[in-house]
């Protein structure tokens, strides 16, 4: 029996190769993501472990709300002396390290990495803890000198002797590059500028009396843990975090976590799609193999093999496929990880491919995934194979599997579909976000399963309509291809299902993202009154000089600054909520249109007052005049009075919770080191805004970190940010389509083999090669378009329901991207044409005589 299985496996290796590709792809993504994240983690662990001081003291991170470029937390440099007196400390120093700077070369270009990695300015210390060493030039001495890291110098063509401008929070200063420092370990991708420790505090933090951390090395015989305890006792742990080298490395690695997680989730997303679509492909392949071998299986049964043996034979074949696929997939995964490592080094993160880490769990995961998916996918076909009667040995092969009624599918599909539709209807009618989201998830899963199950039932009606024009357009060739697609609804349905899943996902996501874009557009139209916004794409703050420059530009009338900070508020109901808050300068009403429920801008921005969303206030028992305790970074806190309540669409979700804002004077008092994140600019009366723009852009040339945007530009920026999500979905779609194409190829190839005699006859009675190819191509197109139509219909329903959920969060517009949808249908037709290439070629190359004589 095993021998027969092996023979059969080898005999069908061509057909199995396509399924194996699906297994390989999913395993490769799983293995690749594991290897890559292991490698990155290991590399950085090593980097952090080698560079962290034995014990370090840092200001306590009290607020963690995600505000980009938040204020730098400092500690007094004098803390160094207190640490130095702790017994067991061999060496100690106060570090200065900030990321809220911009470094500009003499052509007004920023030296910062384009990848979003930070630009870091720090005090220069040589020594074994340093991740870099001086490779040319000399160390910086006094103000006006700096070192630059070699990778940045290389990339941005900066040489020793070149001048640089550093825009720091306390002020802008100029330096000359006096040396180049090269990373001794992995360069994490940041741009680094090193200053003389004697001036770094003043230049970067505004005072030599400030530092960002204090590092201590332990004397011989003193453990890090013991020293940590002693240092903690000396400085007090109320205001400071004291960490050992190990803890420091850990928290530094943890800080990398989000970045690694993104890559991991993206890769696992790809693996998931590959798996999901791959399952269809494998199920379909094995179903076809079983159908094709009905006679052979019947013979085995007639010769005395029992059901279990037949089933096991098919499953063994699946396991062999899974084994081969997993092994190749593991190899492909290593290649993929290698590619990612290369890609990272293009972006400036120099991981070493030679230090690639293949953890023990990687091959385990690869084989579990690969074997698991093939086994599960082959189980149903295997059961079907076991159900073949010995009489089948005598019957005609093609009949099997076609005629069985689809009643069970109809019932299951209808029940699941009804349940899914009910869940989606519930989602559309829901009034609470959490409830709606759960119903959406349930509805999406149920309707997807229902459509997959009922797919074969939909083949007949839908393809009748889709292919209705074929006979008129393409004559008998069109008629035959339409009928061929209808011939085995089960197979057509399963083939199209793979495409359907991917397209449903894209349909839903594109409706959701188009709706988001439309909603943001409306909000921008409604709320934004300024002629221009000066800011950067990721809302990182910028130096005060930008505001001064803008204000001094000829033709500028009004400049309103906006700042962001993280805060924590203690609500009357006792809850402490961490969120972000906005500080606005005077003149807000001229640049932003706010709708007030109570009070007005003057009351909101008045000293010691703040404004918030009316809904948030109601939910937490706040009213005009209520006192609200607010904590700011760095341990500052105060009590502000609620001065105004507003109606904000996005206060519950995409904006910061609560929609808190107050005057810039209040902001500056409690966040003294804050910087502007946005400037709203209006032209002076009598100045045409379009005339102002060139002057504004010219004036801001020395500040490459900010851009001038009018309302349309700002909409584009928002669209682009939403589009990033969409691009990811498109990439997933591309993968799904690649695998789905394999499925269509698979089905067509088998159909061509099954219909060999028919094709021979058609050729004998005068069907030309080109006509034959067209016949197969049209069949392929109609299958692919069927999948696309089904998928998009499902995706549209999902998208509309998703929009209902978004509407609960203030994104009220529904937009359906018809161009995308039409493009996807056209794309599906192209996919059909591509998938038909090989099978059609094969069919047209068939020898007519051999084909007619084919059994």
């Amino acid at each position: 029996m095993l021998k027969a299985t092996l023979r059969s496996f080898l005999a069908h290796k061509g057909r199995l190769a396509l399924s194996a590709l699906a297994v390989i792809l999913s395993v490769a993504f799983v293995a690749g993501s594991l290897i890559f994240s292991d490698t990155v983690t290991r590399t950085f662990d090593r980097l952090f472990a080698s560079t962290a001081a034995d014990v370090s003291v840092q200001p306590k991170q009290d607020l963690k709300a995600p505000v980009p470029g938040a204020a730098v937390q400092t500690l007094p440099a004098a803390l160094r002396e207190r640490v130095a007196r702790v017994p067991g400390v061999a060496a100690v120093r106060a570090d200065v390290k900030v990321q809220n700077i911009v470094v500009i070369d003499r052509h007004d270009r920023s030296l910062g990495p384009t990848t979003g990695a930070p630009t870091i300015a720090t005090a220069w210390y040589a020594g074994h803890r340093s991740p870099v060493e001086l490779t040319s030039g000399r160390a910086p001495r006094g103000a006006g000198e700096a070192l630059l890291d070699a990778d940045t110098a290389d990339k941005k063509h900066v040489r020793i002797g070149d001048p640089l401008t550093v825009q720091a929070q306390p002020g802008t200063f100029r330096v000359r590059v006096v040396g180049i420092a090269t990373f001794t370990t992995t360069n994490p991708g940041a741009a680094l500028v090193f200053l003389d420790p004697a001036v770094a505090g003043r230049e970067l933090l505004g005072s030599q009396a400030l530092a960002t951390s204090v590092s201590a090395d332990a004397a011989k015989g003193v453990s890090d843990a013991a020293l940590k305890l002693r240092v903690g006792r000396a400085v007090g742990t109320g205001g400071y975090d004291v960490r050992t080298a190990g803890e420091q490395a850990e928290s530094a690695s943890a800080a990398l976590g989000p970045f690694l997680d993104v890559i991991k989730y993206v890769m696992l997303g790809f693996a998931g799609v590959a798996l999901l679509v791959g399952v269809f492909l494998i199920v379909n392949t094995f179903s076809m193999l079983v159908a094709q071998r009905t006679r052979e299986l019947g013979l085995l049964r007639a010769l005395g093999a029992d059901r279990r043996q037949v089933r096991r034979s098919v499953l063994t074949e699946a396991l062999l496929l899974g084994l081969a696929g997993s092994t190749l997939g593991l190899g492909a995964g290593i290649g993929l990880a290698l590619g990612l490592i290369r890609l990272m080094s293009l972006f400036g993160m120099n991981l070493k491919a030679t230090e690639m880490v293949v953890g023990r769990e990687t091959p385990v995961a690869a084989y579990v995934v690969g074997l698991g998916v093939t086994f599960v996918a082959a189980y149903l076909p295997a059961r079907r194979a076991a159900a073949v009667s010995p009489m089948a040995a005598l019957a005609d092969a093609e009949v099997a599997g076609v005629g069985r009624p689809l009643t069970a599918r109809a019932v299951a599909g209808a029940v699941l579909g009804a349940a899914g539709a009910a869940a989606l209807a519930g989602c559309a009618a829901a009034t609470r976000t959490a409830q709606a989201a759960v119903l959406l998830g349930v509805g999406v899963v149920l309707t997807l399963i229902a459509t997959v199950v009922a797919g074969p039932l939909l083949v007949r009606p839908v393809i009748r309509v889709l292919g209705a024009a074929f006979p008129a357009l393409f004559g008998p060739v069109g008629r035959m291809s339409q009928r061929n697609a209808l011939r085995n609804p089960r197979r057509t349905g399963a083939t199209a299902a793979a495409l359907m899943v991917g397209l449903a996902l894209v349909g839903g996501m594109s409706v959701a993202s188009a709706s988001m874009s439309a909603s943001f557009d409306r909000q921008i139209d409604k709320n934004l009154g300024a002629d221009f916004m000066v800011q950067n794409a990721n809302f990182t703050p910028f130096t005060r000089q930008v505001r001064d420059t803008v204000a001094a530009t000829h033709g500028v009338g009004l400049v309103v600054a906006q700042r962001l900070t993280q805060v924590a508020v203690r609500l009357p109901d006792g809850r402490r909520v961490q969120t972000s808050a906005v500080g606005y300068g005077p003149g807000l009403d001229d640049v932003v249109h706010l709708t007030y429920a109570q009070g007005g801008t003057a009351a909101a921005l008045a000293d010691g007052h703040l404004a918030m969303d009316a809904g948030f206030a109601r939910d937490h028992g706040l009213r005009i005049g209520s006192p609200l305790p607010v904590e700011f970074p760095g341990g500052r806190h105060t009590t502000l009075t609620v001065g105004a309540l507003t109606h904000q669409d996005t206060a519950q979700g995409f904006g910061a919770q609560g929609g808190l804002y107050f005057g810039l004077a209040t902001f500056a008092r409690y966040v003294p080191s804050g910087q502007d994140s946005v400037l709203y600019v209006n032209a002076a009366p009598g100045t045409n805004p379009q005339d102002l723009r060139p002057g504004l852009e010219r004036a801001l040339k020395p500040f490459p970190q900010v851009q001038v945007r009018d309302q349309d530009d700002y909409k584009h920026l928002v669209h682009d940010q939403i589009a990033v999500l969409l691009y990811l979905v498109y990439a997933l779609l591309a993968l799904a389509i690649v695998i789905a194409v394999l499925g269509v190829v698979n089905t067509l190839a088998l159909s061509v083999v099954e219909r060999t005699r028919e094709i021979g006859l058609l050729r004998a009675i005068g069907l030309g090669r080109r006509q034959l190819r067209r016949m197969i191509r049209l069949e392929s197109v109609v299958i692919a378009v069927f999948g696309a139509v089904l998928g998009l219909a499902l995706g549209l329903v999902w998208g509309v329901c998703m929009q209902r959920v978004l509407a609960l969060r203030g994104l009220r517009e529904l937009a359906i991207p018809w161009t995308t949808i039409v493009a996807v249908v056209v794309g599906a037709a192209v996919v059909g044409v591509v998938a038909a290439l090989l099978p059609a070629l094969r069919a047209s190359r068939m020898n007519v005589l051999a084909a007619i004589a084919h059994e």
Partner: protein
Amino acid sequence: MSTPDAVAAQHGPGRAPDGGLAARARALTKAYGSGETAVIALDAVDVDIARGRFTAVMGPSGSGKSTLMHCLAGLDTVTAGEVWLGDTEITGLRDRELTRLRRDRIGFMFQSFNLVPTLTAAENITLPMAIAGRRPDGGWLDQVIDTLGLRDRLAHRPAQLSGGQQQRVACARALLSRPELVFADEPTGNLDSRAGLEVLGFLRGAVDDLGQTVVMVTHDPGAAARADLVLFLADGRIVDEMARPTADAVLERMRVFSGGNPRC
């Protein structure tokens, strides 16, 4: 081997050939494989197919009778020699020209009917004309359908038809374009004797009443007896021919060629 005159002379009165040849082959040679392992299927065969006659080709298995038909019909390439269909030399034609030739000038019937299962009987009958993009002559279509008794079966799919009915559909398909030549490859091989007789009757009728030319490959002496002329093949050569055959005479002749076993 047989000139038109000779054929005419042999057939004598009643059915004078209406002149000329539907097809002919000269020194037709077909070898499979090459070198020492080559198998000669047809060995320099000369054959003339008279227009408006019913010719049967007989011979034991492996005698080359199917190969002869395939070469005459442009389905198979020849190793050497010439094949003419009417005034057209078909040896040396490329695939596209051969396809068009088969479509427009030749009709086929096969042992296993070979209908397209997704098309109705009517669609199968008109398929070659539809492929060519031509409309069938309405009167002729009706005449063929009525002659073959398919009027009430036109909307049926092949799976809903009996074997005899399917072969009648195949016959109608072969006749519809009024081809110069109809090739029938063992048309009765898969039919019971009654349905077989019926189909032979239709082929005979197509020649007598509709003026068609039919070449039929068979190894059933009873079927061959319905032809005007029987060609006997053995070892890739035409070894004999018999005009106005009877079943017994054909069986007798076969017994001579195949060493006592008339079936093969």
